[in-house]
């Protein structure tokens, strides 16, 4: 089974608006998600300069799905849903 790819934007705006709290995301993963998720830091996803995406910090799942105003809680909840196969 392919791993779920989670990209955390580490650009200036994202980092200052909360991505700093996502740096230890890997350690926060619940037991059932370990080994199923690949967390990556990206230098900048270049989403902050686009309007109407909801605001930094941004996290991207599986190259397509964007989460705005990401917090560890929101990201972990979404990872759990993806692991459990909920769309």
């Amino acid at each position: 089974m392919d791993k779920i790819k989670v990209e955390v934007c580490c650009g200036t705006a994202c980092y200052l608006l909360g991505a700093a709290n996502l740096m230890s995301l890997e350690d926060m993963l619940p037991e059932n998600c370990r080994g199923r998720v690949e967390v990556e830091a990206k230098t900048c996803l270049e989403l902050c300069e686009k309007e109407n995406l909801g605001g930094a910090p941004y996290v991207r799942f599986n190259d397509t799905e964007i989460m705005a105003q990401a917090t560890p809680e929101k990201v972990l909840a979404r990872i759990s849903e993806l692991v459990e196969g909920v769309a």
Partner: protein
């Protein structure tokens, strides 16, 4: 030819254990318009604050006299007449070593009371072209040694305080008279044989560290070692910010092809331009993500250089440069940039001038300085505090 050369001048010091201030002082000066480079090293009588005052007065005056081409003997007499007299010893005294070099010319070394300087070409010791002792009529017990040296590209000159040559004295049975000048010479030759390109920074640090190591149980005297190394400059490039015109991206990215150890890319958008133009991905190790110490993590672009976040990281680097904080204590990304800066002689900034609109977001909880002003202050600190050559190009 002389324009292609750079003189790296560095010092390493340890303070006598138990003292709050170092009794040795080292001062550097570059006289740009004369392409001239000066160093003064002084060891003040005694230790602690009193010695520090004597040494600092001596280096400050000596370097000014050197700059103004005051004859050495006259300078020494003025310095001696000015130093405060020690209540205990009834004398005012500080030894010194002075180095005066004009690119394309000869080096002049003047010494009083300090261990004799060492001149190395590779591992071979080079004798001075001229070597004279000058006595003062004023201070008959003080003699100044004046030397002229044929200082060529690839040569090194090492100057120490007696805390280096006397390390190990009275502690080690195999060093009855301490490490001595001969021991320092042999150690430096071995270091250069093992690493022919060893920088002045690394060699001075290695000599000072060895002197400390030879004296177990703490530093018995202030230790100072200065190394001057004449060589072709080591160039690094810092690329930061996207170019104002997008069609300049390719040109801009080509500036990053200088070799992995010599390139730093600062900024997420800048890194993305490099990824696109050079076809190399930025990789961030997960462990680096967790231990980034309050700044976004540092990544690597294989064959290109390191990639960091932009303005927060540069701001941190700036404050370390301005306050001369050692790189080891900085967060990973700032440390990586600072260490590279310390290893290079000429630092070329290539700045994209496009403003990142997302940084103007009022929700961002701190002031973000403009890239250009941060780089401008960084250049000033690199030149003034670290004697680096700096250039800035805008895109």
């Amino acid at each position: 030819m002389a324009d292609d050369l750079f003189i790296e001048m560095e010092a390493a010091q340890y303070t006598k254990t138990g003292q709050g201030a170092c009794g040795d002082d080292v001062r550097f000066m570059t006289v740009e318009k004369e392409n001239r480079h000066l160093v003064a090293l002084s060891d003040g009588l005694g230790s602690g604050v009193k010695a520090n005052v004597l040494a600092t007065m001596t280096t400050s005056m000596a370097i000014k006299f050197l700059e103004s081409n005051v004859p050495m003997l006259e300078a020494v007499e003025i310095i001696m007449d000015s130093l405060p007299i020690c209540e205990v010893r009834k004398i005012g005294y500080a030894t010194f070593s002075l180095f005066d070099f004009r690119l394309g010319g000869k080096a002049r070394i003047s010494e009083m009371g300090n261990p004799g300087y060492i001149h190395l070409r590779g591992t071979e010791e080079i004798a001075p072209l001229k070597d004279e002792q000058i006595a003062s009529s004023h201070w008959p017990d003080r003699e100044v040694r004046e030397c002229e040296a044929d200082f060529r590209a690839g040569d090194r000159i090492i100057m120490c305080s007696d805390g280096v040559t006397q390390s190990g004295l009275g502690v080690r049975k195999d060093m009855k008279f301490g490490w001595r000048r001969s021991g320092v010479l042999k150690f430096a030759q071995e270091k250069i044989a093992a690493d022919p390109d060893i920088s002045a920074r690394d060699l001075s640090a290695a000599i000072a560290r060895e002197a400390l190591f030879l004296t177990p149980g703490g530093c018995k005297d202030d230790i100072s070692c200065v190394v001057c190394y004449l060589r072709r400059p080591r160039v690094m490039r810092v690329l930061t910010g996207p170019p104002f015109y997008k069609d300049h991206d390719a040109d801009y990215a080509r500036k990053a092809t200088l070799g992995f150890d010599h390139v730093v890319i600062c900024g997420g958008t800048t890194a993305n331009i490099m990824e696109r133009e050079l076809g190399v991905k930025v990789k961030v190790k997960l462990s680096d993500m967790k231990s980034s110490g309050g700044l976004p993590p540092v990544g690597t672009m294989e064959g290109v250089g390191i990639a960091t976040e932009g303005i927060l990281t540069l701001g941190r680097v700036l404050s370390a440069l301005e306050q001369m904080r050692p790189p080891e204590r900085e967060p990973a990304a700032a440390r990586a940039i600072l260490e590279r800066m310390m290893r290079h002689d000429r630092i070329e900034f290539v700045i994209g001038t496009k403003v990142n609109e997302s940084h103007q977001d009022p929700n961002i909880p701190q002031d973000l300085e403009l890239r250009r002003s941060v780089v401008k202050r960084m250049c000033a600190a690199l030149e003034k505090n670290y004697r680096k050559k700096v250039t800035v190009d805008y895109y």
